[in-house]
């Protein structure tokens, strides 16, 4: 919500003059083709299709109008007959009115909406109240066209720059968007940063051929000329939804407008970066408390690396309230604590949020005499950084960049138990703003090697003549897989962690095995591999009569195909590169011998992924070793068939069993149950 700074009276004097423009909203008569439509070839099986969708914003009158014509194609599509309009009831808030609608059956029968809309509380927290106007179109059935419109009015003195989210879950045949911005000077606030100006900027992500052309109509009656943004579109596919898709929700077709106070993205980020850096430095310091603490923590003789390791360990030891619970104001007051203003306050509390702890680390590094910079990144699990989007709120998390012995290194102290000198995957290859010695700059963090994220799985099992196994399993994690478990432990306790660890192994192994966690090593020692010890018992093999078929790699015995589709339109996106190494030894009694085992095999996908499997046999055991390395996180959609082929091949190979047979097979011996 943006506030108009002055000339209010002039602005509102215009209202009665233009109001009649909106008073006689007409519905559009359906065409025979629309009435008889049963599906759309572009999206077979679609629940519904937008025949037309229109959003108009008129700042002069503080009016936002929505008009929808939607064809219901399936039972599911009937759900679009229920409409909900959320809006806020607080300063500068909105009201909804002029709701009208109708349903047109496939035979042309028109059923006007007579029932009123209900206003429903969503939440009321402090002074802020979020409500919804809800209404339902009457007599909606498959084949109906539903049609409705409504208006949102903002309070006097406030305007909202529109956000046109063009791509939705449904196919859109035609859409029209229009904005008549105010020419008044605007005060915009974002995170306490106030800008004044009338400049308008926008970030368009549009289908090929679509162009947003601002025009200007001449002023009437001595008023300033009216700028008009108008966009008409046709045949807009629904937003893509695919498994292993990059976080593209911020990159569907859209136009985001701003009363920017800046004329270019460079100017915006320069200005925003200056403010952002200043705010960070004010919080970071370092101030007296941090300086004193660092003095006691590090020795003058320590190398920079040693100092930083000590500082990192000290920050890691603090409570990260993102994994526990943020303390309320009442608790802070009860503990005699005042409002958090600087990193000294975080240090005094011995707890803080992820960002607060990241900033404390920077403060302590600075106090130790090192060059340390803050960086705010977009969390890659949520989205990707869009410099063209002039909105600093897209920056999610803080990390630290420290110059150690002349080389800049990256740290993630806000991610409790993240390895020293590494970033959590969601902060790798992530864009954002960073501090430098001069000014803040847009920047992207580096990626991590697959070697940084490893899982080692070792099973040492004894199998009897009936396929029953008993034995031990050790799982060892480093990097992001370890971080994930360590942070899971922070959210719960030993009971919940053991349960989750057990269920995780149960999901990998053949069904029916009894699995127990017998020990967890280094759950809080982030600089060591996390090791989980298990015991397993139960039936792992399957008897065919005189043979036992045992899974060659028990850790992938229950694995399902990674991909369920043959084609895709978006790139394949994994969270992080990784390596998984399995070693499974099955010992068996002398009465049993290996009849057949998977042949050694090795193959690669380009130089980005590799797989190999091999076996070793003795008279009483077989050991299967399997390695899978995924060295890249993003694979182009065009390369998907080849990647799918790689996965199909390895998943087929994974399912080859070890065939065990009684040593005197042929005499009718049956090792099975």
């Amino acid at each position: 919500m943006i506030q108009i700074s002055r000339n209010r009276l002039c602005l509102f004097a215009l209202f009665p003059l233009f109001a009649p423009m909106f008073a006689h909203a007409q519905f559009i008569e359906p065409t025979p083709a629309e009435l008889s439509m049963t599906s759309i070839p572009q999206e077979p099986g679609a629940a519904a299709v937008y025949l037309f969708r229109e959003e108009t914003t008129d700042d002069a009158h503080h009016v936002f109008t929505v008009y929808v014509r939607l064809k219901v194609l399936t039972e599911k599509g009937k759900e679009f007959g229920n409409v909900s309009i959320p809006f806020e009831r607080s300063e500068g808030s909105m009201t909804v009115d002029s709701i009208s609608g109708r349903t047109i059956h496939a035979d042309g029968t028109v059923i006007p909406m007579k029932d009123k809309a209900y206003e429903k509380l969503v939440d009321k927290i402090g002074g802020a109240k979020l409500v919804e106007k809800v209404f339902s179109l009457p007599s909606v059935e498959v084949g109906s066209i539903i049609e409705y419109r409504y208006k949102l009015h903002s309070d006097d003195g406030y305007v909202t720059s529109p956000k046109w989210y063009i791509q939705s879950d449904l196919y859109t045949l035609k859409a029209h968007y229009n904005w008549r911005p105010t020419s008044e000077e605007i005060v915009s606030r974002q995170g306490g940063h106030e800008r004044v100006g009338s400049a308008i900027a926008w970030m368009p992500i549009l289908p090929k051929g679509a162009v947003l052309k601002p025009t200007e109509s001449p002023g009437i009656g001595g008023n300033a000329p009216q700028r008009i943004f108008d966009l008409s579109l046709a045949d807009i596919p629904p937003a893509p939804k695919e498994e292993f898709m990059p976080p593209m929700e911020s990159f569907t077709y859209r136009v985001i407008f701003y009363y920017a106070g800046a004329t270019s993205t460079q100017e915006f980020w320069k200005d925003e970066g200056k403010y952002w850096s200043k705010v960070h430095d004010q919080f970071i310091g370092p101030n007296k408390g941090v300086k004193e603490a660092v003095q006691q923590l590090v020795l003058p003789a320590d190398t920079q690396e040693q100092k930083l390791q000590k500082i990192y360990a000290a920050v890691m030891a603090l409570e990260n309230t993102d994994f526990t619970r943020e303390h309320t104001t009442a608790e802070e007051r009860a503990a005699g604590l005042k409002q958090v203003k600087t990193t000294d306050d975080i240090l005094a509390r011995k707890r803080g949020s992820s960002d607060q702890l990241a900033n404390l680390f920077i403060a302590m590094a600075r106090a130790a005499g090192m060059k340390a910079y803050a960086m705010s990144v977009v969390n890659r699990s949520r989205s990707l950084f869009a410099p063209a989007l002039m909105d600093a709120s897209q920056l999610d998390d803080d990390i630290a960049i420290v110059n150690v012995d002349g080389k800049e290194r990256y740290f993630d102290p806000g991610q409790r138990f993240c390895d020293f000198g590494h970033l959590a995957w969601k902060h790798t290859m992530a864009g954002g703003l960073r501090q430098t010695d001069k000014e803040a700059q847009m920047f992207q963090t580096p990626g991590e090697s697959y070697k940084a994220a490893s899982v080692k799985r070792i099973a040492d099992l004894k199998m009897d003549e009936h396929g029953e196994v008993t034995g031990k399993v050790d799982l060892s994690y480093t990097g992001d897989p370890a971080l994930s478990w360590r942070q899971e432990a922070l959210r719960g306790d030993d009971t919940s962690l053991n349960k989750d660890l057990r269920e995780s192994l149960e999901a990998m192994m053949p069904s029916g095995l009894e699995i127990r966690v017998t020990g967890v090593e280094a759950i809080a020692d982030y600089d060591k591999p996390l090791v989980v010890h298990y015991t397993v018992s139960g039936v792992a093999g399957n008897a065919t009569g005189k043979r036992l078929l045992a899974p060659s790699d028990i850790f992938v015995a229950s694995a399902k195909p990674t991909f369920s589709v043959k084609q895709r339109t978006t790139p394949v996106y994994f969270h992080y590169a990784s390596v998984t190494r399995d070693a499974v030894r099955i010992s068996f009694p002398p009465a049993i011998r290996v009849e057949s085992a998977p042949a050694k095999d090795t193959f690669m996908y380009k130089k980005l992924a590799a797989y190999d499997v091999s076996t070793e046999q003795t008279a009483t055991n077989i050991t299967v070793r399997r390695n899978l390395t995924i060295g890249e996180i993003l694979f182009d959609a065009a390369d998907f068939p080849e990647l799918l082929s790689f996965y199909n091949k390895l998943e087929t190979k994974d399912q080859e069993p070890v065939v065990l047979v009684h040593a005197d097979a042929g005499a009718g011996a049956k090792p099975g149950r």
């Binding site: 999206e43 077979p44 099986g45 679609a46 629940a47 399936t74 039972e75 599911k76 009937k78 007959g81 229920n82 909900s84 209900y118 429903k120 509380l121 969503v122 939440d123 009321k124 927290i125 919804e132 809800v134 339902s136 009457p138 007599s139 909606v140 059935e141 619970r325 303390h327 309320t328 009442a330 608790e331 009860a334 503990a335 959210r491 719960g492 306790d493 009971t495 069904s511 029916g512 009894e514 039936v539 399957n542 065919t544 009569g545 005189k546 399902k560 195909p561 369920s564 589709v565 043959k566 009849e595 057949s596 085992a597 199909n648 998943e651 087929t652 399912q655 080859e656 069993p657 065939v659």
Partner: protein, 654 residues
């Protein structure tokens, strides 16, 4: 008249409670302190939190309107228990919240009293078709909500004016240390208490129309890791108190409950001319009872959009049938109402059955309105019989009713969805109302047949055609998928399902029939090409005769104390044939399997005829609930199915 001394004391006590904010310091009341310091049992490591005190006082005024005063103290035991310390008190336009006070004690012993400004208010999210419901919640996140911390709250709420019962839930997912329910009735009133899933406990008579029940050291119901478990509400103990003027007819009986709903809703059945016209149109040319009822039943089922608009009494009372018909939308009781109204215009009597979708929630020994769903009972003409009438109950009156749920969009008329089968419901027939047992349908009413004919290639690739026919609840998810999902979503779903059995495969030539014809088998046929299906291991070729379709049951090895819920009665059959490539001879085939445990049976066989491998299996489930002591049999069934599904035939290259 001056109030009695006891009444006066109560008023004074209430006044004190209301006055709490006036001197609200950060200190907890004595009753909270007493609950905190009472001896506590040893809690289980899995218990996230424990209820130290839960105290309800229900005071019924001389006008029959009740006020509930509630105190609750919970102790956080584990990090996962922090959520149990979040306070959420429901209220709505008819159920006014008169006061709410919240306190907490941190693990460090610091005490807090929350201010009104710290308490948020939330409406119900519009999920599950709830377009508008006036129920709201006062919600607070008290300070100190960490392991070892205590959260306490106290509220007073005015009960709905048209209700004359209150249910006390004394068993939940949390252990309860000290719990009580106190009833205060005005002179001339009486009550009847009924108990569900728990033995009756006598009330302590506190004199002057005041009674108290206590329930201490109640263990938690923890179903999180229990396979095949019933719903918590199907086993949790609860008590319902019915109250009314002495001499109230049928107080606390099923007849009384049914009469109450009848009085509340019967007028809503009135049919408008438009309703009668539509019913006539739908039944035009039909003379058979089933055909007429089916036409109207399917209209209520498919022609009325499901969603909820509830305000106050609207939580119990349906909208008028004429409104429902005009707008073509409504919730479950609205759909049942319109169905009964339409049927009445063609000479068929129908009424409501109040049920709960969580099997076992309605306890026949505990009359109450407790439940979450309304369906319809359609009276069957005397002497009329048809094999299509599958869900039939006979009332004490001797009348037979077809039980049908117009809200369940994919259940064929004549059937009843699985989760209601084996449960109970209240047949609303004014003075002849009663609790009825909802039938468990025959397995043949719920079927899945897979047939396939394949050719195995020398390289292990399997090619062939598959036909899947399903009916009843087993067809529901597929019907839903084909009627609601895009083609791409359908493909993805099918691939995911087949991915349980096959690693590299292609599906083509998909044909689907009878998606919306609920009383016909849903038939899906397709061509399947599965690479590497058979595995060559040296000279051996391993073939899994059970090519696709998983019927596995997840069981654990722990001792069982909970009843077993098998979900649904059903009949599944697979018949697959695989033509083998030349040059292979059978080395061994899986042994046949035959297991009949009464409640379920499983059999399979694998045979070779010429160069064709034939696999058949039949899996029948006849009962839906079993006592805990049958768990060993269920484990045996699960192991049998699991082994059979993994079995391989072994061939040797000649």
């Amino acid at each position: 008249m001056f109030p009695s001394l006891r009444t006066f004391c109560l008023i004074a006590s209430t006044a004190c409670l209301s006055a709490v904010p006036a001197f609200a310091k950060d200190s907890v009341p004595d009753w909270v302190r007493a609950a905190m310091t009472q001896p506590q049992p040893k809690f289980r490591a899995e218990d996230p939190a424990a209820v130290l005190l839960d105290e309800t006082v229900l005071t019924v005024g001389s006008d029959g309107r009740a006020t509930e005063h509630h105190r609750h103290v919970v102790k956080i035991l584990r990090p996962a228990g922090r959520d149990e310390g979040v306070v959420a008190v429901p209220f709505d336009n008819d159920r006014k919240l008169l006061s709410l006070h919240i306190w907490s004690v941190g693990p460090d012993g610091h005490e807090y009293a929350m201010k009104d400004s710290e308490i948020a208010e939330f409406g119900l999210p519009g999920e599950g078709g709830q377009l508008y419901v006036d129920e709201r919640y006062k919600v607070a996140n008290p300070p100190g909500r960490d392991p070892g911390g205590i959260v306490a709250y106290e509220y007073e709420v005015r009960s709905r004016p048209y209700v004359n019962e209150e249910t006390w839930f004394f068993q939940s997912e949390l252990p309860g240390v000290k719990q009580s329910f106190t009833l205060q009735l005005p002179a001339g009133y009486t009550y009847r208490a009924v108990w569900a899933h728990h033995d009756k406990t006598e009330a302590v008579d506190l004199e002057r129309q005041r009674w108290r029940w206590e329930m201490n050291d109640m263990p938690a119901i923890d179903l999180e890791d229990v396979p095949l478990h019933p719903s918590t509400v199907a086993i949790a103990g609860r008590m319902t108190v019915h109250y009314g003027p002495s001499g109230t007819d049928q107080l606390g009986t099923w007849q009384g409950v049914g009469q109450w709903y009848n009085d509340l809703s019967r007028a809503r059945l009135a049919a408008s001319p438009e309703i009668a016209a539509k019913a006539a149109e739908l039944t035009q040319g039909k003379t058979d009872f089933f055909d007429k009822a089916e036409a109207i039943g399917e209209f209520a089922q498919k022609g009325i959009r499901y969603f909820v608009i509830e305000r106050g009494i609207g939580g119990d009372q349906p909208h008028p049938a004429a409104d429902i018909f005009r707008n073509r939308y409504g919730d479950c009781k609205d759909k049942a109402t319109l169905l009964a109204s339409m049927l009445s215009t063609v000479g068929i009597h129908a009424t409501w059955v109040l049920v709960d979708t969580r099997r076992g929630a309605v306890d026949p020994s505990a009359p109450s309105t407790y439940g979450n769903h309304a369906i319809a009972a359609i009276e069957i003409p005397a002497g009329y019989n048809s094999p299509k009438l599958r869900s039939v109950v006979t009332a004490k009156s001797g009348k037979r009713y077809l039980i049908f749920d117009p809200t369940w969009e994919k259940t064929a008329f004549g059937q009843l969805e699985w989760n209601l089968q084996g449960g109970y419901g209240i047949l609303v027939e004014a003075g002849a109302s009663e609790v009825i047992a909802l039938p468990v349908l025959k397995p043949e009413s719920n079927t899945l047949y897979r047939t396939a004919s394949f050719q195995l290639q020398p390289d292990g690739e399997l090619k062939g055609s598959v036909v899947v026919k399903s009916f009843g609840d087993l067809s529901e998810s597929s019907r839903d998928m084909y009627s609601r999902q895009t083609l791409k979503e359908q493909t993805d779903n099918r691939n995911r399902t087949l991915g349980h059995d096959l690693s590299t495969f292609t599906v083509s030539d998909v044909k689907v029939e009878n998606v919306e014809a609920l009383n016909k088998e849903l038939t899906t046929s397709y061509t399947l090409d599965a690479e590497h299906f058979a595995r060559s291991m040296g000279a051996l070729l391993m073939v899994r005769p059970r090519v696709l379709g998983t019927d596995g049951i997840y069981v654990d090895r722990k001792p069982r104390s909970m009843p077993i819920d098998l979900k649904e009665a059903k009949l599944e059959k697979d018949e697959f044939s695989i033509e083998l490539p030349p040059g292979y001879a059978v080395d061994e085939l899986p042994d046949p399997v035959k297991l009949d445990l009464g409640f379920a049976a499983y059999e399979s066989s694998t045979t070779l005829s010429g160069n064709k491998l034939h696999y058949t299996r039949t899996y029948t489930v006849r009962e839906v609930t079993l006592p805990a002591d049958r768990y060993a049999d269920v484990q045996k069934l699960a192991a049998t199915i699991d082994a059979d599904e993994k079995n391989s035939a072994v061939f040797k290259k000649q």
